[in-house]
Symmetry: C2
Subunit: 200 residues, 2 copies
C-alpha cells in the first residue's frame, strides 16, 4: 500500500524502505534474525553509549499532532496525527567532542542505491553540517547481500548533483564500493561505524 | 488538566510547561508577542542556519505510534499514539565542528526553577555528553520577568545531585544568576546563546 507525504512525495515502505519502515516487514531476509538496519544501529549505539565510546541517538519520527484526547486524568491519547518529512537526518550525536550526523537506508536493489531514499532537505542539511565542520555520512545496506557501507556525505551530495544535472537517479553499487567504506557485520557492536570514522 | 506519562510521571502543562507545551497557553505574558521560548529558539536557530553560524535543530516530540489508518492511497493517518518521555534533550547540533546539546524550559515561578522540569534520563544524557567532550547546557526562562539564562550542564547535574541527596527540589534564582549566564533578549537573533558559548 502506497501513500504520499503531505508534499506529495510517495512513501514506498515495501519497495525501498527507510530504516524505520523496514521494521514492519514480515519476512526479513536480513541475517534471518528479524533485525532491521534500525534495530542494528540502535543496538550499536547502545553499545557505544555503555562503553562510553560515543553518544549517538536516533531522532524521533517527526509527527504533526492534530488532535489529542484525554480519556481520563492519567493518559493523553493522540487521536489524529500525520507523518512529516524529516528536515534533517535521523541520527546524530557526539564522538570525542565532534559532531556526528548520519542517515541510514537500505534497498532490495542489487546493482544500485536509488537516490529517492533521500530528499532535498536532507541533502541540504548534509551540506550545512559539512560547512560547519561536522562529520556527516550515510549508512547504506544492500539487504539481499547483507552488505553495509558508509559513504561520506560529500560523495552523496556529488551523486545528488549528478542527478539534478540530468544524470542517473541512483548510485551504482560499484561507485559505493569504490568511494564508500565497507562495514563488516560484527557481534558487538553490530555495525561498527565509529571504527571507520577513526580513519578519516 | 493533568495526565501522566506511561511511566507514571505527571505531566503539568499549565503549571510548569516545557517549551513545547507553553505553545498552547492563551495569554502569553512573554513580550506580548505571543512567542513561546520554543518559538524564539526556533527563530534563533533558523537565523544561525541562514547565516551559517551554527546548525542546531529541535528534535521531534517522541511519540509511540500504535495504529495507522490508510483512508486512501495518498495519506496515512495516525489514529492512536502516545507521548513518550524523551531520552535525550530537545536541541542539538554543530557549531564549528563541536557538538552542541541543550534543553530549554520555562517557569512561572519567580524565586526558583523547579528541577521537576527535567527528568533522570535527561540528566544522565547530559553527563554522557559532557564525558564525550560535547558542549551541554540548559536555557531557562523566568516567564514573569522575561529573563533568560544559560546554565551549563555541569551545574544542573550538581543541583540535581543535591536534590538526590535530600536537598531542595529547585535551583534558586540567585544560584542561576550567580552560576549561569544572562542572555539579553535581542531582535536578530532573539536568544543569542552562541555568543555565550564563545566565552567558554
Amino acid at each position: 500500500m502506497n501513500f504520499n507525504y503531505p508534499n506529495g512525495k510517495r512513501y514506498t515502505p515495501n519497495e525501498i524502505g527507510t530504516a524505520r519502515t523496514r521494521g514492519t516487514r514480515k519476512n526479513s531476509s536480513y541475517s534471518n534474525r528479524g533485525m532491521t538496519l534500525e534495530d542494528d544501529l540502535n543496538v550499536t549505539n547502545e553499545f557505544y553509549r555503555e562503553r562510553k565510546i560515543a553518544v549517538i541517538h536516533k531522532k524521533p519520527t517527526p509527527v504533526q499532532i492534530v488532535q489529542v484526547d484525554y480519556p481520563n486524568r492519567s493518559a493523553a491519547v493522540i487521536k489524529e496525527a500525520y507523518f512529516k518529512l524529516a528536515s534533517t537526518t535521523d541520527y546524530n550525536g557526539v564522538y570525542k567532542g565532534k559532531y556526528i550526523d548520519f542517515e541510514a537506508k537500505e534497498t532490495q536493489n542489487t546493482t544500485s542505491f536509488p537516490l529517492k531514499n533521500f530528499h532535498q532537505h536532507q541533502i541540504k542539511h548534509m551540506e550545512e553540517v559539512l560547512n560547519q565542520g561536522g562529520i556527516c555520512f550515510v549508512i547504506l545496506r544492500f539487504s539481499r547481500f547483507e552488505q553495509v557501507y558508509l559513504l561520506e556525505a560529500k560523495h552523496v551530495i556529488t551523486f545528488w548533483e549528478r542527478m539534478d544535472n540530468g544524470g542517473r537517479k541512483s548510485i551504482t553499487k560499484e561507485e559505493i564500493e569504490q568511494k564508500g567504506h565497507h562495514i563488516p557485520l560484527g557481534y558487538q557492536p553490530r555495525i561498527d561505524y565509529i571504527k571507520i570514522i577513526d580513519r578519516f
